[in-house]
């Protein structure tokens, strides 16, 4: 259908859900989005979409959208003009800053919103309040990937693209249910299977993705390091390590070798029989080209960074980095989780991972932003900011996040937000978190703004405006820009997304060449892209690693158990994850009819034997308790999980995050979302 039709037009844009970054066409008729149609020219998804992608338009014109600023007066939200609302925000942020200084404020931005919003938001925090207390929700998703892959390879991002898995001879997919969580990356696994590529799935759950594998390996939850070390012991024992690659390109082999000596047989920890460990180790090591694909099963633990480094260890030991068909690829969770980090919405780096602690970097940014005294300290991370509410942190600005549902230990989050003197929430719906706000600012959804998302393969994809925001709602860069103007901050006069992007490019060498003109192509651009002539870099570390000495780093890492393990009082291990039908706290997906109908309420997977022992029937309500809270949910009785293990999805309010643990990975500050101890009881009694 013609793109210039008077009645109707297609607007090609990027899906607002997971980190695959599928292209789709929004169908616009009379100023409204009326549907989604395939965009078959996209090399990412070739027009194919998952259940969330095909319905991603349905929430755009929801009557529940926030359409006007709201100010809380006497416990009630009253509609306000932009002037009133922004004046109030400006006044309070200034008062807190004047009294408590840079560490008195916390800034949190979503990985769901465009790069341009993330960039201007962190600039606002740093320029306006001289604070590095700015973070995004990668912290509770792939923060350990950023930290771990940086240590192993020098760059905290996926080494190779999704489609490149089809160039491999073997795919080792570990802690990732791609078919559900990243369906169009899961498609590449399905294609690989048809092509005859070997697939080994390592997961405590027999997921949709595990079902695709030639070999499914069930292991005990959160024992990744023990299993990887055991595999590496046998690889070295058999002399299957890539000696030339190690000699030429890798540090730390002796350290690794010494550590894995203790893991010849670690079945007692990870639960995988020795012959299976050897089999998968040898197959991985012997494959000409083998790729590791992993996800939050690896990262959302107190050992997250070390788990990621263990994946790096496996790849470096066997020479599987730096060419087609190999690498270590985290499937980034949210549509822009890569980008939000790339933009410097992170407490220790500016855009392009330029460290704040380096004086030259600060000097450069001070010059570019015409400010002085940018902070050198490591700011408070996402959940650290929550912990500091009422103590160091008195005021908070949350853009597009719903911490009350999505952060660990919901009761703790609610209690902490209550302690704030002032909370601004900028969002598109009245989320559970909005109740704790003093001012709510109505922003624009993905279909109402221009910008870019950077997908899990470092591909920068264009987001294109199809319609105007509803009512008085505004594009988010304009909200920040107007607020900055009210506060007298300079350098925020950036009326278009392209202006913000160019502002970012000017200070970011790794993305300088990724101009909007070049991004018009359906292929987008994979960073690094340092010059305007540069085609982008789909595969990292070809000749040398991005580390200071150009070498990859092996690390000897010992297994550590999770912070809280099952015991007599709380005898079950709780794992968490995602459903294909919902996205995060469901503010968008639950407003799509098909998705709501598929899964309207929360359920927990429980093993058949456990259910029989406890007298629990499929689809009956059960109560789950942890040391931090409780939740009631439906039981789904299945053999997808092992006895003693319970799996629950993260999408429901007062759900699994009433139970989860806030304890952090010391290296990446990732809370242990995927492992805690719980008890189960029948709601109806016996």
């Amino acid at each position: 259908m013609s793109e210039n039709s008077e009645i109707m037009k297609y607007v090609a844009t990027t899906c607002p859900y997971c980190g695959v970054g599928c292209t789709l066409n929004l169908v616009v008729s009379n100023g409204k989005v009326v549907g989604v149609e395939p965009n078959q020219r996209s090399p990412i998804n070739e027009g194919k979409l998952c259940p969330k992608g095909v319905t991603c338009w349905e929430h755009i014109h929801s009557p529940d959208r926030l359409t006007t600023p709201l100010i809380k007066k006497d416990g009630k939200f009253i509609e306000a003009s932009w002037d009133e609302a922004l004046d109030l925000v400006a006044k309070n942020l200034k008062a807190i800053y004047d009294k408590h200084g840079p560490k008195g404020l916390g800034f949190q931005t979503s990985c769901r919103t465009v790069n341009e919003d993330c960039y201007i938001f962190q600039k606002f925090a740093r320029v306006g309040f001289k604070t590095n207390n700015v973070d995004n929700c990668a912290r509770i998703c792939h923060g350990p990937s950023v930290a771990g892959l940086s240590l192993s390879f020098g760059s905290g991002a996926a080494t190779n693209g999704f489609e490149d898995a089809l160039n491999a001879d073997l795919i080792l997919i570990w802690g990732s249910n791609a078919v559900e969580a990243h369906p169009l990356a899961g498609r590449r696994i399905a294609q690989a299977k048809k092509k005859g590529i070997q697939i080994i799935a390592v997961d405590p759950r027999y997921t949709m993705t595990a079902r695709l594998a030639d070999t499914y390996v069930r292991f005990n939850p959160s024992t990744h390091i023990a299993l990887a070390n055991s595999m590496m012991y046998w690889i070295i024992k058999e002399g299957l390590e890539d000696k030339k690659f190690i000699q030429d390109r890798v540090n730390g082999f002796e350290d690794l070798k010494k550590t894995v000596e203790n893991y010849a047989d670690a079945e007692a920890i990870h639960g995988v029989p020795l012959d299976v460990v050897k089999d998968i180790a040898f197959r991985y090591a012997k494959a000409k080209n083998a790729v590791i694909i992993y996800c939050l099963g690896i990262t959302e633990l107190t050992t997250g960074t070390d788990n990621v480094r263990s994946m790096g260890n496996l790849a470096l030991l066997t020479g599987n980095v730096g060419r087609e068909g190999v690498g270590v690829n985290p499937l980034r969770g949210q549509n822009n989780v890569q980008g939000a980090c790339d933009m410097g919405a992170y407490p220790n780096v500016y855009s392009g991972y330029q460290k704040c602690e380096v004086a030259e970097n600060r000097a450069k940014m001070e010059k570019a932003w015409s400010v002085t005294n940018l902070p050198d300290w490591y700011g408070a991370t996402l959940t650290e900011q929550i912990n500091q509410c009422g103590d160091e942190i008195k005021g908070m600005y949350i853009l597009g996040l719903n911490p009350v549902v999505t952060y660990p230990s919901s009761n703790h989050v609610k209690a902490q937000l209550e302690k704030l003197d002032f909370l601004v929430v900028q969002d598109i719906f009245f989320t559970e978190t909005c109740q704790y706000a003093d001012v709510i600012l109505p922003g624009a959804c993905f279909a109402e703004k221009d910008g870019t998302f950077t997908s899990g393969e470092r591909r920068i994809n264009r987001v294109r405006k199809a319609v105007n925001p509803p009512g008085q709602a505004k594009e988010d860069i304009h909200i920040i820009s107007e607020l900055a103007a009210k506060m007298g901050f300079k350098g925020f006069e950036l009326p278009t997304a392209k202006d913000v992007w160019d502002d970012m490019r000017a200070v970011t060498p790794s993305m300088f060449g990724a101009t909007y003109e070049k991004l018009e192509r359906p292929e987008g651009i994979c960073w690094p892209c340092p010059t305007e002539e540069h085609p982008g870099t789909p595969i990292l570390h070809r000749e040398k690693f991005a580390t200071a000495d150009g070498k990859g780093n092996l690390f000897g890492i010992d297994y550590r158990p999770p912070a809280e393990v099952a015991d007599a009082e709380y005898p079950f291990t709780l794992m968490t994850g995602r459903l294909i039908f919902h996205y995060h706290s469901r503010t968008q997906t639950d407003r799509a009819a098909d998705l709501h109908r598929e899964v309207p309420e929360s359920y927990a997977q429980i093993n058949i034997e456990d259910a029989r022992r406890l007298g629990i029937k499929n689809n009956e309500y059960i109560k789950l308790k942890s040391r931090r809270g409780e939740t009631t949910t439906l039981a789904r009785v299945t053999d997808e999980v092992a006895p003693g293990v319970v799996y629950m999805t993260m999408h429901f309010a007062d759900g699994v995050n009433n139970l989860t643990n806030t304890v952090l990975d010391p290296m990446s500050k990732m809370p242990e979302l995927k492992h805690c101890a719980i008890s189960i009881e029948k709601v109806g009694g016996n």
Binding site: V34, R41, P51, G53, V179, L184, G186, R597
Partner: protein, 304 residues
């Protein structure tokens, strides 16, 4: 195309639409017309001969890998005389379709099996097959297939928007031969692909559909599969919401519902995120059904 008119243009019930169609588009529209989803009285269809289409990303891959040409440099592509031909800055190149398709490149798999190459149930059936001599590349064949078609051509001629002349007998002969060759090729692919399904059909369907993730594109984009409203739909005893892979009846009831109407447009398969060869299965069911049984509601106006 057909579901676009159904969904976004209210089935052309309140507007007139002129649309250029391939065989599969037209069959889809005819089926939607039969189901009162499109008002075909309001639609003027201009058919074009079609030897099959190529997915754009697969085409780019083929051009790069098989032709050794940068796809961005290609200015024209066509299928002619059994070859896939590209023109690009600095030259042109053709490779036999058979050779490409044996290696997994080439046309969409439903197109390979297609036997509706010149859509003569359209108001006009046009296209380049049979346009020969000095007119090659400059004119189109027009077969006038309806009064509506005759009317638009005569109006276009009187408005001096169109020059016409009688088709040359040689051109008619070549058009027929081209069509015949394509039909033969379609039959060859049917034999090959359907025979391959014969021995292990149940296992094949079970294995392939086990990846299903309920994106519903195979229903939403299917021109012959119209869902009943969910409101007041009786609870299914066999298909539970929220479960993936879906219960087997999810697929069985869909195959059964479209069994006598699948037009092999291929949209279900084209849009499937988990690579289920849905069109192959439902097309095989329809072809076998059409051959073996008297049509329940009369024969379709097209012959595929």
């Amino acid at each position: 195309m057909s579901t676009f008119i159904q969904k976004y243009l209210d089935g052309a019930k309140n507007m007139k639409v002129g649309v250029v169609v391939k065989g599969c588009d037209l069959m889809s529209m005819i089926e939607l017309g039969k189901r009162n989803e499109i008002n075909m009285n309001n639609v003027l269809t201009i058919g074009v001969n079609c030897g099959g289409s190529v997915n754009p990303i697969q085409a780019r891959k083929m051009i790069k890998e098989k032709f050794g040409v940068d796809p961005d440099k290609v200015t024209k592509e066509e299928i002619d005389k059994g070859q896939f031909i590209i023109e690009y800055e600095g030259g042109h190149k053709g490779i036999k379709i058979d050779e490409l398709e044996e290696e997994g490149y080439g046309r969409r798999s439903n197109c390979r099996r297609c036997k509706y190459k010149i859509p003569r149930q359209a108001d006009l059936a046009c296209g380049n097959w049979g346009v020969i001599g000095d007119k090659a590349g400059k004119a189109t064949f027009i077969e006038i297939c309806s009064d509506k078609g005759a009317d638009i051509v005569s109006k276009a001629v009187s408005a001096k928007k169109l020059d016409t002349c009688a088709a040359e007998p040689k051109g008619i002969e070549i058009r027929g031969k081209t069509e015949g060759a394509m039909l033969k090729l379609g039959e060859k692919w049917r034999k090959k692909e359907f025979t391959a399904l014969r021995d292990n059909l149940w296992d094949f369907i079970k294995k392939e559909t086990s990846r299903y993730i309920k994106c519903y594109s195979c229903i939403e984009k299917c021109p012959v599969c119209i869902s009943t409203p969910f409101v007041e739909r009786p609870e299914s005893y066999m298909v539970r919401p929220g479960y993936i892979p879906s219960d087997p009846m999810f697929h069985l009831r869909r195959f059964a519902s479209i069994s006598d109407s699948c037009v092999n447009c291929g949209q279900c398969e084209e849009l499937c995120p988990v690579e289920i060869p849905l069109a192959l299965i439902s097309h095989a069911i329809r072809v076998e059904g059409d051959n073996a049984y008297v049509p329940k509601l009369g024969a379709a106006p097209y012959k595929n």
